[in-house]
């Protein structure tokens, strides 16, 4: 991969909506700080049914998102180091490491440490590490932990599992209620779910616009603009952000304006991105390679709680159990094949994330099956989302270049 062009004529086009992102992030940060000062801040995992704490007037922040920010600031190794100094293994999830590290030394991580939590809400639908990670944060901050346990699903959720998760959600409502002395108002939950659903639908529209050629969004665009649907789902300003994004993206599509200037090859990206090296996508953009779809940002399209059902709680139970990381490997392979077909992609890149075992498990065999079913070639590259120490640029370059040579 040649160097990124320094001239004004960058190979990719910047989204105007990105300016709004900074405002949203700033606002989200202020609200979280306020909530923490008022004694009502929850830290939540990314696959958690956040509609419930929001409807119960808790502020929410996502340590995984803070981890991404630490990664993007290229201070991942240093902040991981604070956790490693406490004895945590380098094999532990790097989001967990930087979360623990920044809680240990918040003054060293001004942009990535989160305000002190009063409650920790973990859902194991995305991985099992979150429980022990939140336990560690609980020991450090004194905030109690709640685990919403969602047994993995193979094809359909079994009735007794559904019942079990339903009890979990009921216990969650009681847990928040007894810790903060408040109750859940059904109307408020419906209102939050409605907003959450509107934001998610808009997000899906923005993603689906990438079926156009040229694709109006590239990988890095989506990784950045996914932030509100993860962190501010269920709020008015989140809906407003996605209205603005959809308008810009659909206008691009209408006018045939691509995210990159000269689209030649369309690839699928699998897994969390290397937050420390997002320029990976821009370097490839200069060679005409665009990523119109990825499995990561599409993961948030499933988190949509329907609002036209008699029981929103039942919807929550089903929706949050069906996160595809909580389903068998087949579900992920199906998703990849479907994205390759729907977005007319020429090949795929699977990022094997050293410290995210849950997402990376089974990639070798998935690669074979996806190629067999779709007929397009793929490549596996290795590294980590936050810990740039295990990211070897030269090795990645050779692998990706070889894939491109197969396609060009």
């Amino acid at each position: 991969m040649t160097q990124e062009r320094a001239s004004e004529e960058k190979p990719y086009r910047r989204l105007e909506t990105q300016a709004l992102l900074q405002q949203i992030a700033f606002r989200h940060g202020l609200e979280a700080m306020e909530a923490s000062e008022n004694g009502s801040l929850a830290w939540v995992t990314s696959g958690f049914p956040v509609e419930i704490p929001i409807a119960m007037n808790l502020g929410v922040v996502y340590p995984e998102q803070a981890g991404a920010i630490i990664g993007a600031q290229k201070i991942g190794p240093a902040v991981s180091g604070y956790a490693e100094d406490l004895g945590y293994s380098q094999e532990l999830c790097s989001y967990a490491r930087v979360s623990i590290g920044s809680t240990e030394k918040p003054d060293e991580v001004p942009m990535g440490s989160l305000p002190t939590p009063q409650i920790l809400l973990a859902g194991n639908n995305i991985c099992g590490t979150v429980l022990k990670w939140y336990d560690a944060i609980s020991e450090m901050t004194g905030a109690p932990v709640f685990l919403l346990d969602t047994p993995p699903i193979e094809k359909q959720q079994l009735p007794h599992n559904q019942e079990y998760v339903r009890h979990g959600v009921e216990r969650l409502i009681e847990f928040i209620g007894s810790n903060f002395n408040r109750t859940l108002e059904e109307d408020r939950l419906r209102e939050v779910a409605e907003l959450s659903s509107r934001a998610t639908k808009l997000w899906i529209r923005a993603l689906e616009a990438c079926k156009n050629k040229p694709s109006p969004l590239n990988c890095a665009d989506r990784f950045l603009t996914m932030a509100p649907v993860v962190s501010s789902r269920g709020t008015e300003h989140c809906v407003e952000f996605y209205e603005s994004l959809v308008a810009e993206v659909e206008e691009r599509a209408k006018q045939g304006i691509g995210a990159i200037r000269d689209e030649k090859i369309r690839l699928l990206w699998d897994n969390i991105p290397p937050w420390h090296t997002l320029r990976f996508f821009n370097i490839l953009a200069s060679r005409g390679v665009v990523f119109p779809a990825d499995t990561y940002t599409h993961a948030w399209t499933g988190n949509m709680v329907g609002t036209d059902t008699p029981s929103i709680i039942d919807e929550v139970v089903e929706t949050y159990s069906k996160v595809y990381l909580n389903m068998g490997l087949d579900a992920k392979v199906d998703k990849m094949c479907q994205l390759i077909d729907d977005y007319d992609l020429d090949g795929f890149v699977m990022f094997s994330v050293r410290s995210c075992k849950r997402y990376s498990l089974g990639q070798l065999v998935s690669k074979e099956i996806v190629t067999e079913r779709t007929g397009v070639p793929g490549v596996i590259i290795e590294g980590d989302m936050v810990d740039s120490r295990v990211y070897n640029a030269a090795q990645i370059e050779t692998r990706v270049d070889a894939l491109l040579e197969m396609l060009m």
Binding site: T371, P377, V379, A394, Q395, T398, D401, A402, E405, M406
Partner: protein
């Protein structure tokens, strides 16, 4: 007659080939890369030019290998994955699986009927299963790299080397030396351990015969013996297995020249 130059700047050696459009190799060069890839490239070009007595100006150059970006006068750089496939296909178009083991990486490449790679796997971030692994072990056993293979072939009972990490395997070898095991058995164990990694890579890509081995390590008879055993196939080795990457680059340089004309 049209000609093309291929330069393969590997982690250990730099190779160069001058090829004409009838497919004849007019000159070849092989030297240690050393600390300066740029100097190695300059010297390789001088070697090719002087041994063929041909002025290389105006002859297209394609570079490959780890230092491919360092070859400034190259029209284009291509990965060693593509170049080895094309090079092997040039010599033997029947080959479907190519196993190339160089100084710091090992690759298994499935070659399509057109000579281009269809799928490939590389070793992970680790030198076990590469030429470097053998270099380290030869040093510990106090034999030259060239003698390591023949020494290993003398063994009937290879020592067990369980570790897949070069550093830990080195400690293991030292342990075997301390336990009084013969150098031949230890050397054989080293090869078995290395080959097990490479055969796993190959199986992931699919072992379809005929199978070819290239790279500096293909010169090692014990490596060839154990790889052939573990895969259950006969291996075809080109006459000059270190040069196939540079040869493929030269073939591509000629193809490009042909397209321009």
């Amino acid at each position: 007659m049209d000609m093309g130059v291929g330069i393969d700047v590997g982690s250990t050696t730099t190779k160069g080939v001058l090829l004409d459009s009838s497919g004849n190799i007019l000159a070849r060069s092989l030297m240690t890369t050393g600390a300066s890839a740029i100097q190695a490239v300059e010297k390789t070009l001088r070697n090719i030019s002087s041994s063929s007595n041909i002025d290389l100006n105006d002859i297209p150059v394609i570079s490959t290998g780890y230092g491919r970006a360092r070859v400034e006068l190259a029209e284009k750089s291509m990965t060693e994955i593509t170049c080895h496939s094309v090079g092997v296909h040039h010599i033997n178009p029947d080959i479907r699986l190519l196993i190339d083991v160089g100084g710091q990486d090992a690759k298994a490449i499935r070659i399509g009927p057109s000579g281009r790679p269809e799928d490939f796997e590389l070793n992970d971030k680790c030198s076990a299963g590469t030429g470097r692994f053998l270099e380290v072990m030869a040093r510990v056993l106090e034999v030259s790299l060239d003698d390591l293979g023949p020494l290993a072939l003398q063994s009937k009972t290879p020592s067990s080397i369980s570790s897949t990490c070069t550093v830990f395997a080195e400690s293991e070898v030292i342990g075997h030396i301390g336990a009084g095991e013969s150098a031949a058995d230890i050397a054989a164990g080293v090869h078995v351990s290395m080959v097990s990694k490479i055969s796993a890579l190959s199986k992931r890509v699919g072992v379809q015969e005929p199978v070819c081995a290239t790279g500096g390590v293909a010169l090692n008879p014990a490596f060839r013996h154990h790889l052939s055993n573990q895969l259950g196939v006969e291996l075809w080795i080109p006459e000059d297995p270190q040069l196939t990457g540079a040869l493929g680059a030269a073939v591509i340089a000629l193809e490009k020249k042909g397209k321009k004309n």
